[in-house]
Every structure is written in C-alpha cells, then in structure tokens.
C-alpha cells in the first residue's frame, strides 16, 4: 500500500539521519590493543573551525608518536567527544569517554563553560583531564587533583595586555562587549579591575551569545558612546562578524581581545577589516626563536601543506604530547584502569617538557606556569592581515598602530 511504503521511507530516512548525527566515529577496538585517550571539543557549531585546528595539532602529535611505534608497543587511539560548546553536552561527552569508552585520560577542551563542568565530572570519576585551551581560572582553582591545564589561564593571557594598557595606551574611556560565557565574563572581571586601576571610565557592559550573528544593536550602541578602547572577548566567527559589522556601521575603536579569535578562518572572513585589532596570543609563528616551536611549525607545514599553524594547533599538539609523555612515564598499563589513571595523574604532576608553547611545567594546582603569551596586533602587509608582537619592547617585532577612521584606510 502506498501509505505503508511511505512510512517505511520515513523510517529509513530517520534511521539514516540518526546515523549521520554521530559526528565523531565510535571506536569499538578490542580491549587492550590500543591506548585510548579521550578528546573533548566543540566539533560542530560556530566554533567547529577552532576545534578542527586543535584536532589538526593533535593528529600531528598522534601520527608522530604512532609512526615511532606508539607507547609500550601499542598504538594510541583518540576518541572524540563533541561538546557543541554546551555544558550539558560536554558533561555527557566526558562521562561517555570515561565510563563507556574507558579512556586512560581526557585531553582537549576548548570552551570554559564546558570544561568547568567536565573537569568536575572527571575529578569525581577519578580520571585525569588535561585541558588544552579553555582559559577560565576556575578550572584549576578548585583543588581538583585530577585536573591539569597545558595552556595559560586568562590572568596569564591578560597580564601582558594590562601592562600595555597601563604603559602605552592609557585609555580614558572603555567599553566591554563580551561573549556571555565564563570565558567572556572572567576576562571582563579582570579588565574591569584594570580599568578601575588606571582610572578609565567604564561606559557600558554589553554581551552576546555564541552563535549570534547580528551584532548591529550592540555596535550601534557602542558607536553612540565612543569608547577609546573596547574589550571584546569572542571566538572566530563572532569576532569576524563583529569587525565586519563595525565597518558597516562606521564604528572605530581600539578592539582588545584575548587572541583565540586570530585563526586562519578569522582572517579569511574579515581580511583587511580586522586591521588594528589586538590580543594576547600564543601563535606558534611568533615564537620561532624557540627551536621546539620552529620544529613544530615546520612539521605542521609538511603535514598540512598550505595551512598555517595557529594558536589552537600549537595548544592541541602540546596538550596531546604532554598526556603521552605522562603515560610513558607512568609505566606500562596494568589493566586495572583506576590504578593506571592514578599513575598517569602522578606522572602529570612532574611534567617537564619543551614543546611549541615553550617549557611546560605544572604548579600545585595543575596549571602550567612556564608559558608566556605575547601582546599582538593585527597589522596589514600588502593589505593582508598579519599578527605582530608589539609589546614588551624587548620582544616586539613592530610598533603599535592607532586605529584610523574607515575613510582614511587605504586597504578595503
């Protein structure tokens, strides 16, 4: 009957779509033939590009170690959990990695709001979680002994910018335009304190949600207020759209962000429009005096011809290498998962390796303290955007440029 066959078409369609819904491949490898590491990240949604960059850095590390024979004669297997940058999805993903997939440790982790929640779960489940990118200080400040972070937290990222604001820019008026997440609000707190310290007037605090595409309301309001400096914590897509819409509305300010937005996708999306934007970055190409970093940049260019190693690829690479290094030093897995996880946690505490960000050592809270981000500004060369270190003077490769009105800019 026609109706029957149509309803079976529907059932087939639905089943097909359910199959497609799985973004990350499920691995059902037989027990003990691989060493399993879980990786969290927002692999779908507006942050997907950034998570992909992190993944590329990790896959570079993975292939390097696996091609040299893996660890203890076993290949390393990465199992990905898509958090969609939503805490509820992140908790579900990490629970699955820890309990169902039985990973030895969890790495990755991009969104602060997600990782504040996931690290709590990991600590309760007594599984080491080594956060790669998320910068909220809360992640490592709750006394969780199973939680580590291979990248600086927001105070460390913002420290350099704060010195620059105090010594060079000295704005009279500031405004805040933040992502409405822990990532954005943590930075807002730090910069608000800094503004009070230097006596700058805080004109307004505005917010947006991840996935928002229309910022004209907030930008129009900012334009009316004319702040010298606008602190803007955003990720790639939103940051690029904000720059574009600021231009459409003829709004000029000194944009200061963190640096997570300065990815290849960001520069492709906004091009010359993002000139003068500033941040605090761990972009590997800025640091090639460090031999490990130079080696990473070279290996990345060989593995991904034409691609540029951004901040997240470097952080992803270092994150996985630190986990692998700890697993090696923990000793051959005994088969008792909890025992093995505890040994990995103990090995992580004594980490001392040199990777693309510099030297990686953890303090007693599990936070890396030996990595220093650089203060950068987007400047144009032949109308193409580049990141340049502008502070402190002894490390700077370029001078600070004050933003010009739109009609005076030569590059469109």
């Amino acid at each position: 009957m026609k109706k029957r066959s149509s309803s079976s078409i529907f059932v087939l369609l639905f089943a097909f779509s359910l199959m497609c819904t799985a973004v990350s491949p499920q691995s059902h490898a037989a027990e003990d033939t691989t060493i399993k590491i879980g990786i969290l990240g927002p692999f779908s949604g507006s942050l997907a590009f950034n998570a992909g960059e992190m993944k590329k850095g990790m896959v570079l590390a993975l292939d390097k170690v696996n091609s040299e024979g893996g660890i203890f004669g076993k290949q390393i297997e990465l199992i990905y959990g898509d958090t969609e940058c939503k805490p509820d999805k992140g908790v579900a993903a990490v629970k699955k990695l820890i309990t169902s997939d039985g990973v030895l440790a969890v790495g990755g982790g991009y969104c602060s709001s997600v990782n504040i929640a996931s690290t709590e779960v990991a600590n309760i489940e007594k599984c080491p979680e080594v956060v790669a990118i998320a910068i909220s200080p809360t992640i490592t400040r709750r006394g969780f002994e199973y939680v580590f972070r291979t990248s600086p937290d927001s105070p460390m990222f913002l420290n350099g910018i704060n010195r620059w604001v105090e010594q060079v820019k000295k704005p009279k008026t500031v405004a805040f335009f933040m992502e409405n997440t822990d990532y954005g609000r943590d930075g807002e707190k730090i910069w608000s304190e800094e503004s009070k310290k230097i006596g700058a007037k805080e004109l307004d605090h505005l917010y947006f949600e991840i996935g928002d595409t229309d910022f004209t309301t907030q930008i129009s309001k900012l334009k009316g207020l004319s702040p010298d400096t606008t602190f803007n914590i955003a990720s790639t897509t939103e940051a690029a759209l904000i720059q574009k819409q600021a231009r459409e509305l003829n709004f000029v300010t000194q944009w200061i962000g963190v640096g997570g937005q300065f990815t290849e996708a960001y520069f492709n999306m906004c091009g010359a429009t993002c000139e003068y934007a500033m941040g605090s970055s761990l972009e590997p190409t800025l640091n090639v005096k460090n031999p490990e970093c130079a080696a990473f940049v070279k290996a990345y260019a060989e593995k991904y011809p034409g691609a540029r190693p951004g901040i997240f690829s470097g952080q992803g690479y270092d994150n996985l290498m630190v986990i692998i290094d700890a697993i090696k030093r923990a000793g051959k897995p005994t088969g008792d998962l909890q025992k093995d996880r505890d040994r990995v946690r103990d090995a992580l505490k004594t980490t001392d390796v040199k990777l693309s960000q510099g030297e990686i050592k953890f303090d007693e809270t599990g936070q890396v303290y030996t990595v220093t981000p650089s203060v950068v500004q987007v400047q144009l060369k032949d109308c193409r955007p580049e990141l340049r270190v502008i502070f402190p003077p002894d490390l700077a490769t370029s001078e600070y440029q004050s933003p010009k009105p739109w009609d005076q800019r030569s590059c469109k």
Binding site: K3, T213, K221
Partner: protein
C-alpha cells in the same frame, strides 16, 4: 546628526525583513497544508550554500543575482520534492505529531548532510559592494544591508501579486480557506500543495542567501531562522501572510530596541516574551483570526 533610536530601528528592520521571508514560507505551508515545518530554517541554510556554490563560479554582482535566482529555483524544487515524497503521504493522518516528527527528522537530515558535504567551517558570502556604507542622514548602514531590505520587500510584493492576481495564486488561497470546497471547484489540490510548499521553501531559500550575506554560512545556521519564523507566525497569526510580513518587522525592531533600552543580555529573549504575551492575550495572533492567505 545620527540618532541611536532611528539607527536601531533601521537595524531591526533589516534583520526583521529576513525573518519575514522565512516566516512567510512557514505560514503559507501551514495555512494551506496545516504542516508545521520545523525544517524551514534548513531550507534557508540550503539556499545559503547554493549561494556559496554560485559565488565560486560567478563573482560580484552577477553572482549575487544568480544566487538569488538559483536559490529560489533549487530550493523551491527541493520543497516540491520533499512535499511529494515525505509529507503528502502523511497528510491524511489524523494526528499532527507524525508530521512534526517527520519535519524534525528532515531538519536533522539536512543539517547533517550539510555537515557531511561542506564541513563545519563557517563561510562568508562575499559582499558584491565591497563593504561600502551609506549614510541616510539619521543612521548609517552598509549598502548590502539596504539592498537586502529592498530585495526582501520586492520578493514579498511579488508573492502578494502572485497570490492575488494569478489563477494559481487564487487557487492557493482557496485551498487554504477550505480544502474540500476547493476540490469541489475542480482545483487540483495535490498540485496546489506541491506549488505552495515549493514557494514556501523558495522564500526560505532566498532568505538564506540574505542570512548568508549579512552573517555567515554553516550547517547549524538553520536553527535560528526556524525559531524566529515560528515566533513570527505565532505573533502574526498562523496562516496569515500579512501577519508574517509585519510580524517579522515587529520582531526585528522589538529585539534591537529591547536590547538597546532594556537589556542587551536578554535581547534574544525578547522573541519568547512576545510569544508568551501573544498566546496569553491574543492567541490567534496580532492580525486576528486565521484568515486565508
């Protein structure tokens, strides 16, 4: 002398006109076929990707006009196809839940197909005006936004003309008013369903090109347009075309003004507050009882 109020009203009108386009499609489909199409925003997403593909071959002005035509045509055809094979077999069932479930399934399918073929990286549709801005005395905006506004109104005007002045258009309105009477009048109702669904998705496709130009293109982008379209149709009255047009503009302006003068953090909540108020005070929507199109 620029005015923040007028600037925000302009901003809201531009965004609202795009909401209207997608909502018009939704309300037409509901009005004629009683289908709540949860995949409506994903037809917009498909339209945006059509534009991305057209721009790969045809840059500048030509590319943009070509994208609009291609999106209308291709997404319209996609609509006709999905109506015939996915929705029509279910139309005789008594519960609406089946139809809603199918449209949700369609939405998941379309999103994941886009993820499969285009990957998650967001893309921009190039601005054929190169980011040029225009000052309208009281406010500024980009030429692109102004063009989107004008084209949205043009598309809506064309649709109104079609529905009022052509035989098929009148047949669509008749079917939405009373399906059985339409059948008795000799109208081929199945053909009308196909055309209506196709036009509804074509409007969504055009809306998608605007969304993609003003904002960004990525597989999950359909969620917001669907949500806004539902808010607009509830505001304007389900099945009411005028309601969808004005409802979209009202929502756009309410969001920007609410964000500016009440609280920026709750800008997105404005739409939901509107729905609650409408359903409490005037459930049939601002524009009265469900009328035919």
């Amino acid at each position: 002398m620029e005015s923040l109020l007028l600037q925000q009203i302009l901003n809201g009108t531009v965004v609202g006109s795009v909401y209207s386009l997608v909502a018009i499609g939704l309300t037409m489909i509901f009005g004629v076929m009683k289908i709540s199409n949860f995949a409506q925003g994903d037809y917009s997403m498909a339209g945006a990707y059509v534009a991305v593909l057209v721009f790969a071959f045809l840059p500048g002005w030509l590319g943009w006009i070509g994208s609009l035509l291609a999106a209308a045509a291709l997404i319209g055809l996609l609509g006709v196809f999905t109506e015939k094979f996915v929705f029509r077999p279910l139309l005789d069932r008594s519960t609406d839940i089946d139809i809603i479930m199918v449209s949700i399934g369609l939405f998941i399918l379309l999103e994941n197909l886009a993820l499969l073929f285009f990957h998650a990286t967001p893309r921009m549709i190039p601005d054929p005006f190169g980011g040029a801005t225009i000052r309208l005395g009281f406010a500024s905006t980009s030429v692109m936004r102004l063009v989107c506004l004008i084209f949205s109104f043009a598309a809506i005007a064309l649709l109104e003309l079609f529905l009022n002045r052509t035989k098929t258009g009148v047949a669509i309105r008749a079917t939405s008013e009373n399906r059985h009477a339409a059948l008795l009048m000799g109208i081929d109702v199945n053909r009308i369903y196909g055309i209506t669904f196709g036009m509804g998705t074509a409007m969504a496709g055009i809306g998608g090109v605007f969304y993609g130009t003003l904002f960004a293109v990525y597989p999950m982008m359909g969620v917001m347009p669907t949500l806004k379209a539902f808010i607009v149709t509830i505001l304007g009255g389900m099945g009411n075309l005028r309601g969808a047009i004005f409802g979209g503009l009202i929502l756009g302006v309410a969001e920007t003004l609410g964000g500016t003068y009440i609280s920026m953090e709750y800008k997105n909540a404005v739409g939901f507050v509107i729905i609650i108020l409408v359903l409490l005070i005037r459930p049939s929507g601002l524009f009265g009882r469900r009328e035919s199109l």
